[in-house]
């Protein structure tokens, strides 16, 4: 069973629908024991970092995520879930889970793209990846595949070894992070058509190594 961690950060039904569509058993749950008993964990989230971390702690989910990470269980962070696995977020100056060293940063203002158009924030829409390190979850993913992003902050791990792929929106930013059994994507694979479903399917088959 796959636990989709519910800590009141947004609507998780689309993640659930996509995982079910792929034929896997999953459950949306905010109960720590469910998360620790699951075979693998999806850690999604939409909203603000400060409130998200506070809710995680109140539900006792922060400790469970740390334990499960240390025990080697496959974990997939999505969107806000790819930011609050870091140590800190510039959003609300929140202290986060610290599973990967680094900070979630806000896109700088007044960026422009190569066509000299003003870059808009949030980064909303379809964008491609520049894959720096092969990863089992990105199997069969190419540079022509695009994924659906919606965010104003981006994850910035301290060490390059944790950056699996980047994307470009005015600046090059990390879009896929990884550390042993933890992988995290800034985009929404559940809303990214076939390439997104492929990534979810890869995760659901991954042993975390």
């Amino acid at each position: 069973m796959i636990a989709i961690v519910d800590y009141k950060a947004g609507n998780l039904t689309s993640v659930e629908r996509a995982v079910r569509y792929l034929g896997y058993d999953c459950r949306i749950t905010g109960i720590p024991v469910d998360v620790s008993l699951a075979d693998r964990i999806i850690f999604p989230g939409v909203g603000a970092a400060g409130k998200a971390v506070k809710d995680l702690k109140e539900l006792g989910l922060d400790q469970v995520l740390k334990e499960q990470f240390e025990q080697g269980k496959p974990i997939l962070g999505i969107c806000l879930g790819a930011q609050i696995i870091l140590e800190r977020s510039e959003e609300d100056e929140a202290f986060c889970l610290g599973l990967i060293p680094g900070v979630a940063k806000r896109f700088p203002p007044d960026l422009s793209n190569p066509a000299l158009e003003k870059i808009k924030i949030p980064h909303m829409g379809w964008n491609s990846l520049h894959i720096l390190q092969p990863h089992p979850v990105l199997r069969d993913t190419g540079t022509e595949d695009e994924f659906y992003f919606v965010h104003s902050y981006y994850p910035s791990p301290a060490g390059p070894e944790h950056i699996i792929a980047t994307s470009r929106h005015g600046i090059e930013f990390p879009a896929v992070l990884g550390s042993s059994n933890l992988v995290a994507v800034q985009f929404h694979p559940e809303k990214s058509g076939r390439p997104g479903l492929k990534l979810l399917d890869n995760f659901c088959r991954w042993d975390g190594r």
Binding site: G10, A18, K120, P122, M124, E146, Y148, K191
Partner: protein, 259 residues
């Protein structure tokens, strides 16, 4: 770099699309779930549904439509029409839509934007704008006025002022419809689109007037739009989403080319 989005728009009344698509085998399909699947397979980047159901009781049917669509397609879609309260927003999002669009209700009660953004996040609140061109005046300095009720009622609100105000209140995106261009198939209102898009920091979807691919190219380049809404041009099979995208790609407009 972000791709420009091509977004088919489907009007739904009492759970059925008002205009079916005529497939090559000449079978007309009016089922919104089937149409959503069709456009998803064709490479649409997102979908917009407008519920034009007249009666309140029958509007619940729309929630079933949203659920059916969400189970079958895995790209974002938004739902507009008849959204008046936080409860309406919640119901549509829980049924599986990524975004809701608010239009007249936001003009009557702007706090629906801020309350919605606070409760569900800016990313899911789209401001729908229906705009008509009017003579320049002190009250309407941009020359574009907000209208409601299908363009029959002038509100006295300047379109540019309203777009900025909605952004300040927390709208995450604007769907900008020119009532003058809508239905003409003579091209989008480029001046209006560029004016709004260059003066807000949130993405703008241009709507109204697409009659050929050139119009779409123009609005995404000269009009500075982030996305183009398309309806008749794709529903009646004159061009496919794929045709639109390969044309744009040939002319160096970045679009999503694999799905």
């Amino acid at each position: 770099m972000l791709s420009k989005r091509i977004i088919p728009c489907l009007d739904v009344r009492d759970g059925k699309t008002t205009k079916g698509i005529r497939f090559q085998n000449n079978i007309e399909i009016g089922d919104p779930v089937e149409m959503a699947r069709y456009y998803y397979e064709q490479g649409a980047d997102e979908l917009v549904f407008y519920d034009i159901t007249a009666s309140n009781e029958r509007r619940k049917i729309m929630i079933d439509v949203v659920r059916g669509v969400a189970e079958n397609i895995f790209i974002p879609f938004s739902v507009g029409g008849g959204i008046r309260s936080l409860e309406d927003i919640r119901a549509v999002l829980l049924a599986g839509a990524e975004k809701v669009s608010v239009n007249s209700a936001a003009i009557r009660n702007p706090s629906i934007i801020s309350d919605g953004a606070k409760a569900f996040g800016s990313q899911c609140i789209v401001l729908g704008m229906d705009v008509k061109s009017v003579p320049l005046s002190a009250r309407i300095p941009s020359g574009y006025e907000m209208v409601i009720d299908g363009g029959r009622v002038f509100t006295g609100l300047d379109a540019l002022d309203w777009a900025k105000e909605a952004e300040r209140l927390g709208a995450g995106e604007i769907c900008l419809n020119s009532i003058d261009a809508d239905g003409t198939q003579k091209g989008y209102e480029l001046n209006l689109t560029a004016l709004i898009s260059e003066n807000v920091g949130i993405p703008v979807i241009a709507s109204g007037g697409a009659g050929n691919i050139e119009h779409i190219y123009d609005v995404l380049t000269k009009g500075k739009a982030d996305a183009a809404l398309v309806a008749s041009i794709v529903h009646y099979g004159s061009v496919s989403i794929k045709d639109i995208k390969s044309n744009l790609q040939d002319r160096h407009v970045k679009v999503r080319s694999r799905w």
